[in-house]
Every structure is written in structure tokens, then in C-alpha cells.
Amino acid sequence: MVSVINTVDTLHEDMIHDAQMDYYGLQLATCSSDRTIRIFEVKNGTQRLLSTLQGHDGPVWQIAWSHPKYDKMLASCSYDRKVIIWKEQDGQWNKLHEYNDHDSSVNSVCWAPHELGLMLACGSSDGSVSVLKHHGDNQWEATKINNAHTGGCNAVSWAPAVVPGSLIEPPSQNQQNNFVKKFVSAGCDNLVKVWCEKDGRWEEEQKLQAHTDWVRDCAWAPSIGLPQSKIASCSQDRRVIIWTCDEATGGQWSSKTLNEFDDVVWHVSWSLTGDILAVSGGNNKVSLWKEKLDGDWSIVSDIKKGQQGSTE
């Protein structure tokens, strides 16, 4: 059951490419081909434009809110090859940092889990992935993985913060330094890759091969207390694939095709409880999927284009 509770007219002058709610679900950020980012306060079915962020010279592809523990920050990436980190102070949004070291469009930004510190992964069409790490005093150290995806990287998504071998229990305070730093990336080489930081260097831990065309998006599922990692990827080949890795099976990844759609699949998003996957297709169709007990995936809701709500 999906019911529209708020329709926000963004007044963007061109296509919207991303829309994200902040941590508490109080503010909405949108970005567009009109090169701007807009921040709205969304409440009880109404919206109020709080700010319009200008600074990119090309379409802005993605935005990502920081965890509130780092105050209100927003990362944006654009076709103009730039990554901009914005910060709100007293209701004013200002550019905090600009990262210019990509040779092509930056397609994806994703903040690391807050436990890992203030860290941002950026995937670019130049094939590389950058990881920006904040060292205090607005010093951002960039680590670049060159040629992560030949033909370009389309998406990055961090793994939830876990301590190795303890996916079952949330780590205690003194284990904090043992957090595994991992993210997944998807690219035009039709691959999904898992990266892991070892001794301060990013290494390709896994190459997940099953898609036959560009992988448009990938999303690491939130940890729900099971000793299992789960990644969803979607592709130009119109398929959504769920990749799972059980600790028990010794880190072997297995893939399962969730569904083959009738158009390119652009975006996948996990619900915060990790049990529902929202799949957005090129035909402007959003469908919600849930894993059944037998491990198959079934559709729970199909939101058609332009539809106000949808039936079960």
C-alpha cells in the first residue's frame, strides 16, 4: 500500500535527478539538470523552500545527507566533474569543500556510515572512485581508486559498519576501530565491485559478474542483525540482481535475479529495515519487492507512472 502524503513542486527548471530526505525525514533535498540543489522543509503535506544551492556548472546527479552527528551537511556531484560538500549554519547553506580531481562526470556520492567517521565515496565516469576523508579543520584527504570501472563508475554505496566476525552483534565501544570499511560500486563495465580498506589502501575484494550491460545502481542493504551481507544492483540489462554473502559460507557471494523488467532499471533503494527494495525503472515505474521465506522475491506494490497511489 503506497499512498502519496506529500507532493512537492520543486520548481526546478529541468529534469530532477535525485531527491533525498534527511536523517529525520524533515527536509528534502533535490537536484536537477538545472544545476541547482534545492532544500525544502516538508511537513504535514506542505513544503517550504528553504534554500537553493548554486555552485555546479552542470547537471547535478546525486545528493547525500550527512549523518546528523556531523551536523547538517550535503554532498553533491555533478556532470561538471565536481563534488561539492555543503554545510548549513544558522539556516544558511554554504560551500564547505569542493573536490575537483575527477576527469569526468561524477555520478554518485555516498557518505560512509557515521561510525567510520566523516567519509565520502564518489564514483565518476572517468572510471575512478574517490574516497574523501575529513581530517578535521576542513581538511579533506582524497584517496583515489583509478580505473575502478572501465567506462565509468555509476554508483557507490557503503556497507553498514560492522566488526568482522560479529555481524550478529552491534559492536561495542572498544571495538570501534575494528569497523570494516567497505563499499560497493557499479559501473559501465557491467560489473559490481566490492572494495575494502586494508592498511589504509582500498583493495578490490570482489568482482561480481552477472550483468550483461551497464550497472546503473547498487545499494548495500542495511544490516538487520543477520550474518549476511546483501547488495542490490540494477542494470541497463533490465535486471535487478540481489547479491548475498553469508559469513558462514566463507565470504562467497551468490547472485539471484530479482526480476527482469521491461525497461532499463535506474535505481534501487532499500528500506531502512532492509526488507523492502524499491526498484525504479526507465518507464517511470516504481515497484516494491520483498523477499519471501523461500528466498524468492515477490512484488508487494507497483506504482505506475503518474499514479497517485497504488493498490497492494
Binding site: 530526505m21 547537471p59 552527528k69 569543500h97 578535521g136 565509468g152 523492502i276 524499491a278 526507465g282
Partner: protein, 1205 residues
């Protein structure tokens, strides 16, 4: 754009179709070129364009030798009857031949020419596959020859119509992208039409495009990918190096002309995926990417070119990010339009040239090549505007609370960005667990009050699917009955009323006349036991009854109703004992010649019974003492629990329910449950034990292990329902102390449940379900914070939770505020970020010592004098969120310092303040239900029962019980005891039982025992009009206290050997020293507090006292009955604890806030609302903090509601 790969071959080539994966290039040796060796060999080769391969030079994947060289190569996709899945490669040879190859065979280097046809007379320069019917392709050659081939019948090609005149070579062919029977062909002649469009249905040209200037030498044609009537034509004439965009609806002149090339244009390629991208290459050695749809058309990008100009440019059908160029220097180059760093330098180019040069031994051919110009990989320029396939048209992302944020862009209006559809973002609520929400709402409603809850249990019971469920709900339900223990017994198959009735039957028949009074009494009371006199007489009667008869009477009962393990006399005795029917037990013992048993039981049954039985005992008999009997007598229930046969768990539980003291009951039930849990078959029954003990934590663990298979929403709902109902029960009983609080497992489940509710958008419900503030799990704190803030600025009835993360943000991007930094380290290591003070918590006596001016010095050393520990965490409160509270020097600062103690648990969570609230509050909180009042009060209330000095301790102990029980009916006035000496009173089994153990400890004290027995027998709780006349209720113990001196509900204090000093030899003046050593939490004696002068309650809270006390006074003025009066007394006593806490300022702000709300409700006489606030406080607070006074407040509210005052 950047060149990423190359194939070192001079060839005409074709990309594999879009459907194919992986991507190949089929390259046939170009007829028009010669390589450096002047070889006349011909080859058809496949090259895999693998983007994951880092090599710059693409290696050949398959190669075959062919007879002829090629003018044109195309690759058609597979079709239904196609023998191959990878499609077919069709080549036009320079000798008029059409050759068809299977690419799969080429990969195996196997020559397998499917078809070779030489229908054409000249070199076949143009080929194109139909976009819709994959089995059709067109070929064109000299003399305006065009054939349409059907791969299903390739021997008989047809013509699209009569040849165009004047005839010329057909340079290019293109099928329309929208209409399948439309084909365009070009002519290089300037004299005739440069392009003819054929309609194959009519077999004739439908339009002939003629350039108005008449100078168009058409080299290539490409249809618009989306618009059926538009096409572009390229002119290879150096004098007219243009590309024309024609719309056939207005075919008199080109719609647009793309002018940039300086020499003739050789090839065009329109991007199928984005019609805003058109590639052109010309003899001027330039390759441009245009947006032909722009007004005017604009060049988006120019490609890097090599030494020689390109004769061909093609988008990769599958991957539009890459394109290929074929150049005359014998090289196919692969470019990426996305830019990025060139993988390799141009060394490879150089190598190729060197190879050529080597072949000649000179620089002859390489001379005019602009070499070395790209030694440095330059930053490439991407397209001015991103291609369509980069522009994400839609996305739906989840956010907190099951919200889905989605947007969509209407693709058809994409070129006219005027529609508003691309501007809106929708926020939707996703609900996937409808049933869960319904059930959750049901549950929350049920939890509002007892009636609802009982009805809820009832509904659940009716709907129960399994016996297990049924048991579960029956057990939960009876908790709301006035006498849960008795009901438990019934559920276990022991119906005291029924049993008693059956036992009595013969007796009553005989005694009807004489005993009508007492008989009535029995009936009206629903009494579970009879009095001593009755017993006496009954025995006499029973003696006359034949044993056989009795067995006839009891056996069916046993076998049919109660599936006990045995059906012999033992079991009958057991049953009688289990329900506390001593007379019957003695009777049965006597009949089975178990004199010793009879005597022992009789001792428990009262002095008269004992005397009688003792007499009979001397008459004779052998005996064997069953374990049960021994347990009853020695009170060693722990042993029963430890060693009983688990198959008889019901009996064990029943005996516990009958006999065990409240404290013991909990631990014993738990122990029994534990044993059951260890047994896989009986595991589920353990849950029932935990219900009896009210141990939520164990219940949850047990449940989880029983139901571990699947973890779906309904399962957790099932569990939560039980948990919450039991929690409510435990809250009521609440004497269990720990039982009412949530442990780790239950908190985890609750938080999981709250997460689920939140994920369905039920933020408020989720908040309600969250375990109390005191629960330290960080995940719960995080969820609470998120739930609270996501509901907007203020959530009615909740305090803003502490921000559960350490703040790192203030260091990012702006200078840390000087005042903030150092202070953060002072307070609890600054890890717990104290929330902004939403309300000013009144200054306490302690805070008065901190004046605003010397605040900074005060803070680090500040220790609240009255109750030090729990306040420590508050110290970090001054370091409020910098952005909101940048300065502390303001006059309001002091009030911030003492922000709510609810901070305490959280700071503990973050690991910095390991002070458990329960620990620190123990001194001031009457945590233990049975507290020791001062000796004075004890002796005052002791009254006048004659006690030998050696037993002095006992009444003291008993008296303690009177003062502490939260929910107990007030103690009997000792003076009333004598009045109760009515012959009709029934004897209470538990009391008798409690007396027994003292025997081994003080064997010499038989006389006193007998005395006590008599006392016990004459006090008749069951027949009195006391509110809770339950023989097994803790309350009962208190009622019996004056006469049951040695009983000790506090556990093992009185057990022989455990606490010898309590065993009766210590003089009473040692009492106060002994109590602390044996009682778990010696509390501040309330009496003592009353005697010492107290500090005033902080002014802002005095309203609480005023309200509460007023209400009590009002209630008393209504002249309520004794019962209510007693309750009110209890209330005032309990409220004293509250006032003490207020004086000490030791209550968390949320509790205080709640109390104020309760007081407000009182003022407005909305007692129901008051009760709701009460419930909320109880569910959200630390149990130990509030257990002393909340029950009192509750009964006050209830009474007020009843009296309608």
C-alpha cells in the same frame, strides 16, 4: 572524449548488435585499402571489445580467411528461425558478392560461409539490416542496384522498385527507424536526386531528395532515431562539406545544415539512444559530435583523431558511451565520450606506424602524420551536455519511517522541458504490513487499562490456533483476575473449589443440619479451604467413610479432569496438598495408614487437626513420605523444582503457586522454567512458568528459541503481544522488582518491533513501544531520538531524547566555539551530547550553591550533596549544543545545569558513566517491597500478642512486611485480631505452611508453635471482607503477620542454617544490625525520615504535593468504606516517598513532567487521563525510581475516579 582502445586492422567493420553480449567488432579486410605488406589476402575477424580488459590493443578473438575483400560489413541480430543466437554477419565484397557468416563459427576460426551470392554486378558498398524484421536486409551496388534479401529465402532477392535514373553507385542504404517498410538510398551523383526513399509495400520510391544547390554528393544517410520523417545526408564534396537535416514532410530544402567540416564528409552516425548526438567525420581529419536538434545545431564535442582521416564513424549499438572510427591508416579506434583518462599513451599508434615504416625501411608513409602530438594524456573534454542515458529520469528512495521519495520525468516531453511533471517530487507512505499495524493498534488499545487488557486476552484466547497459544493467553489472562495464583492452579488442572466440593460432599450430606451456617459460609466464600473446626469434625466423619468409597469418589476426578501422573492415593494426597486442603490430605493419609504423613500434614493444618491426628498416629501406622509431602513440610521447594520429574511440571508449578512465597515464587518458577527449557519437548511450557513469575526477559528468550525458524512480522507481533500484556501484569504486581523491567532480549525485541512500526510510518506507535529510557542499548536510544525528531518539533508527552551520538560536526567547516570545546571534555568525556534544554528544570537545593557567576568553576567539582551519584551525568548538561546554546554566561545557565537526569542512562550507554540508576538510587528509593520501618513503629504496631522473648524478632520481621508492600492491603489492625476469633473462620494453608519450617530450627519451641498455629487458624482472611482474601497472595502474608511470627517472605532468612542469627536466638535489639546483612537493599527507613525535619519540596513541585494531598483529603471526606480508607492511608504513605524524592530532586524530568501532568488531570478531575499519564510514566521510567510511590498514585486516581470527587 577519449580514445580508449584500438584494433590494428585496415578493415570495413561492424559492431555486434545491441542484444549481443559481449560486444564484438567484425572486421573484414577492406577492399579499398592495402596494408603495408601489399598483401592481397582477405580475412574476416572478430574482436571482443571488453571494457574490463585493460589492454589498449584489442586482440583478435576469431579469424577466418576469405576469398574476397570487403566493401561493407553489417551484423544482424538473431531472429526466430536464425540458426545462431549471435546473429549473422553479412559482407559485401568488391566483386559483387554477398557473403553471410556465422559469427560463432568465426570465433572457432572455422570457415563456414552460410551463403554466397553474386547477384550484384559491382562492388557491394552498402548494406543495412531492417530494424524490425531482422531477417531482412538491403544491399546496394553500382548501377543503382538495390536488393532486398530475406534470410529465410536468400536465393531470391527482390528489388524495391525500378532503378533510379541516371544510375549511379548506391553509396549508402538506411532503413527507417520507425516505419519498417521505408528504405533510403543515396547516390553520389550530383545530377540526380541525392537520396531516394523507397516504400517497399508499394515497391516504388516515394520521395526523391534533391539538393537545391545541386552540388550534393551524398556519401551517407542516417534516419532520425525518433522522428520518422527526418534524416541526415552527408556530402563528400569538398566544396560542400556539409551535413543536411531533412524533414521529408518539407522536402524542398534541408531543414538544417550542419556546417563545420572543411572537406567532404564521409560518414554520419546518429545515436540510437540519444537523438541529440550525431557523429560526423570528414576528409578534413575532424570528427565532430553534434546536437542536430539544437537551434542552431551545435557541436558538442570534437574527437581526437589520428594521423589519417577516418572514412567511417559508428556508435556502438550496445554501449553508447563508446564509438568507433575506421581510419585509412589501417586502424579501428574505440573512443569513449565520457572522457576519463586515456588508458595508454599513443605508443601503440606509434608502434603501428613504426611497423609500417619498418616494412618500407623508411618514413615514406609516416611522413605526413602528425606524430608525437599526444604524448601527454590530456584532460579530455566531455560533451557540453550529458547524453540522455546519463540523465536519471526517475528514482524512488526510502527514507526514515517507511517514506518513499520519488520523482519521475516524462520522457516524451523531455525535449520540451516546459511540462511541470519533471518538477514534482512525491513523498509516499509505504505500508506493507497491514496486519501488523492492525494488531499493533489493537494491542496498544488493550494496554490502556485492565478491562481492555482482559478483554484483549479473552479475544486472543478465542482466536488461539494452537494449544500452546491457548495456554499462553489463559495464563496471561488470569493475571488480571483478583486471585491469579488460584486461577493459575485451575489452569494447571487443579480446581480448588471443585476439589473441595467433592471432598466435602459426604461431609456436607451428613452435616447439613448442624452446619448450615458454616456450609453457607463455605459456599459464599468459594472457599478453598476449611477452618480448623470443620476439619476436626470432618475427620471424624471421614473416619467412618470407607476407603473404597473415597477412591471411587476421587478417582474419576483424578483421571478425567486432571491428567496427573498417578492415580493412586498418593496423587490424591498430592492434590489435596497442592490446593492446601489439609483435612482431606490428613484424611487420605490416615486411610492409607500413613500416620506420620498425616501428622505432619496435620501440623500444618492447625492445632486441633494436629492433636487429633497425633492421637491417631500413636494408634499405629507405617509411612513413607513423599517428596511433595516433605517439601510442603520443610518448605524446601527449591529441591522440588530441582529434582522433580519434568513430566510432572504441572504439579511442580501448582505446588509452587500454592506455597511459595512471592519472592521464592519468582525464582522457583524461573528455575522450573529453566529446566523445562533444557528439555526440547517441554520447552514451550517454560513460557508458562515465566508468565507465573512475570519474568519477561526469560519469556522472550524462551519464546525466541522456540520460534526461531522464521522471523516475520507476525511472529514478532505474537511475541510482543504477550510481552506487553505480561509487562502490564508485572507492572501491577510490580513486587517482583526486576520482573517488571525489560532485559536485554526483551528490549531488543521491543526495539525491533518499534523499528518495524516505524518502517510502516507508525512513528507514534513505535515511540510508545520503545523500552524505557533507562534501557541502555544504543540502538534504542538512536531510534528514540530519530522517532522523536522525525515527528516534528515537539512530541506531546515526551521529553526530547538525548542525542545518541557524539557530535563531530562542530569541528567540520567552522571554527570550534571556544567555549564549547573545553567543556565538552569535562562532562562525561563529552561523549553524550546533552540535548538542548527545552525546559528549565527547577533549581534544586544543590543547584542553589552554583551561582551564575562562578558557574564555570563550580561545574567540574559539583556534586549534588543529597543524592550524589545519579546526578553526576547531569554535569555534562551545560555543554549544550553549541549552535543553540553558544554561551553559558547568561543568567539562564544555572537552570541548564540541572537538566533532567534522564541523561544519566544515556551517558551510561556511551560507556562513560557506568552508574546504574538502580544502584545509585537504592538508598533513597524504597526499592524493596518489604522494608524495615524503625523499631519504634514496629513495636507500636506490634500490638499485644504475647510473644516469648526468644521470638521477639519474629513479629518485627512481620511488621516490616506491613510497611513496604506496594499494593498490599493495609495491615490489619492488631487489635482487631481477637475479634476474629470466630469458629467459622477457615484456616489458611500457606500460613500454616510457613510455620512449619521453624520447627527444625527451634525444636524446643513446640509450645509456641502450637500457639502460633492457633493464632493462624483464628485469623480468617478468606471469610473476612478484606479486598484480597487470597490464601496465596503476598497480601495474605501481611494479613497474617501478627499471628504468623516466624514466617519470612524475604526468602531464606528463616531457613534453618542459612541465617542462624535470625533463627530466634538473637535478641530483638540486634534487629537493626541484622536486617541490612540479610535484606538485599536496606532502605532508608521511612519512619526515620518522618521523624527528622525535612527540607521543603522545591516550590515548583509543591503543587504536586498540594494536589495529591488535597485529593486524598477529599476522598477521605467522602466517608469511604474501610477498604478505601486503608488504601488511602497506603497512598499517603507512598506519596511520602515521592515527596522525599522531590525534596532530594532525584527524579528524572520526564517523571516529574509526567507527575505534573497527573496533577493537572487531577485538578481538572480527569482521572482517566491521569491514569494514562501514570501508565506512560511507568512504562517509560526506571522501575526502581518510581516503584515506591507510583502504585499509591494509581490507586489514588482510581479511588478518585470511583468516588467521582
Amino acid at each position: 572524449m577519449v580514445k580508449i582502445k584500438q584494433v590494428n586492422v585496415g578493415a570495413n567493420y561492424a559492431w555486434s548488435p545491441a542484444e549481443n553480449h559481449p560486444v564484438y567488432i567484425a572486421a573484414g579486410t577492406a577492399a579499398q585499402q592495402l596494408d603495408a605488406t601489399f598483401s592481397s589476402n582477405a580475412k574476416l575477424e572478430l574482436y571482443a571489445v571488453d571494457m574490463t580488459d585493460d589492454n589498449y590493443n584489442i586482440k583478435c578473438a576469431g579469424s577466418i580467411e576469405t576469398e574476397n575483400r570487403f566493401q561493407k560489413v553489417v551484423w544482424g541480430s538473431g531472429y526466430a528461425e536464425n540458426p545462431t543466437t549471435s546473429g549473422l554477419i553479412v559482407c559485401g565484397t568488391d566483386k559483387g558478392g554477398i557473403e553471410i557468416y556465422n559469427p560463432e563459427k568465426i570465433l572457432e576460426n572455422e570457415v563456414d560461409c552460410i551463403l554466397s551470392n553474386s547477384k550484384h554486378t559491382g562492388p557491394v558498398r552498402s548494406l543495412d539490416f531492417n530494424n524490425f524484421q531482422k531477417n531482412l536486409f538491403a544491399s546496394g551496388a553500382n548501377d543503382s542496384e538495390i536488393y532486398i534479401w530475406d534470410l529465410k529465402n536468400p536465393s531470391n532477392p527482390m528489388t524495391p522498385g525500378t532503378k533510379t535514373q541516371p544510375t549511379s553507385a548506391v553509396g549508402a542504404l538506411a532503413w527507417n527507424k520507425q516505419v519498417q517498410h521505408i528504405l533510403a538510398s543515396t547516390s553520389s551523383l550530383t545530377s540526380g536526386p541525392c537520396c531516394v526513399v523507397w516504400d517497399l509495400r508499394k515497391n516504388e520510391p516515394i520521395i526523391k531528395v534533391q539538393d537545391p544547390s545541386g552540388r550534393m554528393q551524398c556519401s551517407d544517410v542516417s534516419w532520425h532515431p525518433d522522428v520518422a520523417t527526418q534524416l541526415v545526408l552527408s556530402s563528400e564534396d569538398d566544396h560542400l562539406p556539409v551535413v543536411q537535416l531533412w524533414d521529408l514532410r518539407f522536402a524542398t530544402s534541408p531543414m538544417k545544415v550542419l556546417e563545420k567540416h572543411s572537406k567532404g564528409v564521409l560518414s554520419v552516425s546518429w545515436c540510437k539512444q540519444d537523438s541529440d548526438l550525431l557523429l560526423t567525420c570528414g576528409k578534413d581529419n575532424h570528427i565532430y559530435c553534434w546536437n542536430p536538434n539544437g537551434s542552431p545545431p551545435e557541436i558538442l564535442c570534437e574527437l581526437e583523431t589520428g594521423a589519417q582521416w577516418c572514412f567511417d564513424v559508428q556508435w556502438c549499438p550496445r554501449n553508447p558511451n563508446i564509438l568507433s572510427t575506421g581510419s585509412f591508416d589501417g586502424c579501428i579506434s574505440i573512443h569513449s565520450i565520457m572522457g576519463g583518462s586515456p588508458v595508454q599513451s599513443n605508443d601503440q599508434n606509434q608502434a603501428q606506424r613504426n611497423k609500417i615504416a619498418d616494412a618500407f625501411g623508411s618514413d615514406a608513409f609516416a611522413g605526413d602524420a602528425p606524430q608525437q602530438q599526444h604524448t601527454q594524456p590530456k584532460k579530455t573534454i566531455p560533451l557540453k551536455k550529458p547524453p540522455k542515458w546519463m540523465r536519471r529520469p526517475c528514482a524512488a528512495s526510502f527514507s526514515f519511517g517507511g517514506k518513499l521519495v520519488s520523482f519521475e520525468n516524462n520522457q516524451t516531453t523531455e525535449n520540451q522541458h516546459q511540462t511541470s511533471s519533471h518538477r514534482t517530487v512525491k513523498i509516499s507512505q509505504v505500508v506493507t504490513e497491514v496486519e501488523l499495524l492492525e494488531r499493533s493498534a489493537d494491542l496498544r488499545k488493550a494496554l490502556t487499562d485492565d478491562t481492555q487488557c482482559t478483554a484483549y486476552c479473552h479475544r486472543k484466547l478465542e482466536k488461539a490456533q494452537s494449544e500452546f497459544e491457548e495456554n499462553f493467553w489463559s495464563f496471561l489472562k488470569v493475571n488480571f483476575e483478583p486471585e491469579p495464583r488460584k486461577e493459575f492452579l485451575q489452569l494447571l488442572g487443579y480446581n480448588p473449589v471443585e476439589l473441595t466440593a467433592k471432598y466435602r460432599q459426604p461431609v456436607n450430606q451428613c452435616k447439613d443440619k448442624q452446619q448450615s451456617e458454616s456450609g453457607d459460609d463455605n459456599v459464599s466464600n468459594g472457599a478453598s479451604s476449611s477452618n480448623g473446626l470443620d476439619a476436626f469434625e470432618q475427620i471424624a466423619v471421614a473416619q467412618e467413610t470407607k476407603k473404597q468409597e473415597e477412591e471411587n469418589l476421587f478417582l474419576p476426578l483424578v483421571t478425567t479432569c486432571y491428567s496427573l501422573s498417578t492415580s493412586d492415593i498418593d496423587s490424591l494426597i498430592s492434590q489435596a496438598l497442592l490446593i492446601g486442603d489439609y483435612e482431606a490430605a490428613v484424611d487420605l493419609c490416615l486411610h492409607s495408614n500413613r500416620m506420620a504423613d498425616a501428622i505432619v500434614v496435620a501440623m500444618a493444618g492447625g492445632s486441633k487437626l494436629l492433636e487429633k491426628t497425633q492421637k491417631r498416629y500413636f494408634d499405629a501406622s507405617e509411612s513413607k513420605i513423599s517428596r511433595l509431602l516433605s517439601a510442603v513440610v520443610t518448605k524446601n521447594w527449591a529441591d522440588v523444582v530441582k529434582s522433580c520429574d519434568l513430566e510432572n511440571w504441572k504439579e511442580a508449578l501448582a505446588s509452587l503457586l500454592t506455597y511459595a512465597s512471592p519472592q521464592d515464587l519468582i525464582s522457583l518458577c524461573d528455575e522450573l522454567g529453566e529446566r523445562l527449557e533444557a528439555n526440547p519437548e517441554l520447552k514451550s511450557h517454560a513460557c508458562l512458568c515465566y508468565i507465573c513469575s512475570g519474568n519477561i526477559e526469560r519469556l522472550v528468550r524462551c519464546w525466541s528459541s522456540v520460534n526461531s525458524q522464521d522471523n516475520n512480522g507476525n511472529d514478532i507481533q505474537d511475541l510482543i503481544e504477550k510481552m506487553m500484556v505480561l509487562h502490564r501484569v508485572a507492572e501491577q504486581r510490580s513486587q517482583g522488582g526486576s520482573a517488571a523491567s525489560m532485559g536485554e532480549a526483551s528490549s531488543e525485541k521491543l526495539s525491533e518491533y518499534a523499528h518495524m512500526l516505524a518502517s510502516q510510518g507508525q512513528l507514534g506507535a513505535a515511540m510508545e513501544m520503545l523500552p524505557a529510557h533507562s534501557v541502555p542499548q544504543i540502538s534504542i536510544q538512536i531510534l528514540r531520538d530519530r522517532l522523536y525528531h522525525s515527528q516534528g518539533d515537539t512530541v506531546v508527552g515526551y521529553q526530547p531524547p538525548v542525542f545518541p551520538f557524539s557530535r563531530d560536526g562542530s569541528r567540520v567547516g567552522h571554527r570550534p566555539e571556544a567555549q564549547v570545546q573545553p567543556r565538552r571534555q569535562m562532562g562525561a568525556k563529552g561523549s553524550a551530547y546533552p540535548y538542548k534544554p527545552h525546559r528549565d528544570v527547577p533549581t534544586t537545593a544543590a543547584s542553589a550553591t552554583c551561582s551564575p557567576t562562578n558557574l564555570n568553576q563550580q561545574i567540574p567539582n559539583y556534586q549534588p550533596p543529597s543524592v550524589p551519584s545519579p546526578h553526576r551525568p547531569q554535569v555534562n548538561n551545560p555543554y549544550a549544543r553549541p549552535m543553540q546554546q553558544p554561551s553559558y554566561s547568561g543568567p539562564q545557565a544555572p537552570s541548564n545545569i540541572f537538566t533532567p537526569p534522564s541523561v544519566a542512562p544515556t551517558s551510561q550507554v556511551t560507556g562513560m558513566m557506568p552508574i546504574l540508576p538502580s544502584q545509585v538510587q537504592a538508598p533513597s528509593a524504597p526499592y524493596q517491597p518489604y522494608m524495615a520501618p524503625t523499631p519504634q513503629t514496629m513495636s507500636q504496631s506490634m500490638g499485644n500478642p504475647p510473644q516469648p522473648p526468644s521470638n521477639m524478632y519474629a513479629p518485627d520481621m512481620e511488621k516490616k512486611h506491613n510497611s513496604g508492600g506496594w499494593n498490599d492491603p493495609p495491615a490489619l489492625d492488631p487489635n482487631r485480631v481477637p475479634k476474629k476469633k470466630k469458629p467459622t473462620t477457615v484456616q489458611s494453608p500457606p500460613v500454616a505452611n510457613f510455620l512449619v519450617p521453624s520447627q527444625p530450627a527451634i525444636p524446643h519451641d513446640v509450645y509456641k508453635q502450637v500457639l502460633h498455629l492457633r493464632m493462624a487458624a483464628i485469623v480468617n482472611p478468606s471469610s473476612s471482607n478484606l479486598p484480597t482474601p487470597k490464601p496465596i497472595d503476598p497480601a495474605q502474608l501481611n494479613l497474617m503477620t501478627p499471628a504468623a511470627p516466624v514466617h519470612n517472605p524475604m526468602g531464606n532468612m528463616m531457613r534453618p542454617g542459612v541465617s542462624p542469627m535470625m533463627g530466634g536466638v538473637q535478641p530483638s535489639n540486634n534487629m537493626m544490625q541484622n536486617v541490612p546483612s540479610s535484606a538485599p537493599a536496606p532502605s532508608v527507613p521511612t519512619g526515620a525520615l518522618k521523624d527528622t525535619p525535612k527540607s521543603p519540596i522545591p516550590a515548583e513541585h509543591q503543587i504536586l504535593q498540594v494536589q495529591f494531598d488535597q485529593l486524598i483529603k477529599k476522598a477521605l471526606n467522602q466517608n469511604p468504606n474501610q477498604q478505601i480508607k486503608r488504601k488511602l492511608d497506603d497512598c499517603s504513605r507512598r506519596l511520602e516517598f515521592l515527596y522525599d524524592k522531590l525534596r532530594a530532586n532525584s527524579l528524572s524530568p520526564n517523571i516529574i513532567g509526567g507527575l505534573h501532568q497527573v496533577a493537572q488531570s487531577m485538578e481538572s478531575r480527569d482521572y482517566a487521563n491521569g491514569l494514562r499519564h501514570h501508565t506512560r510514566i511507568v512504562t517509560q521510567s526506571n522501575f526502581s525510581e518510581i516503584s515506591a510511590f507510583m502504585p499509591g498514585l494509581k490507586s489514588l486516581l482510581q479511588i478518585a475516579g470511583q468516588l467521582r470527587i
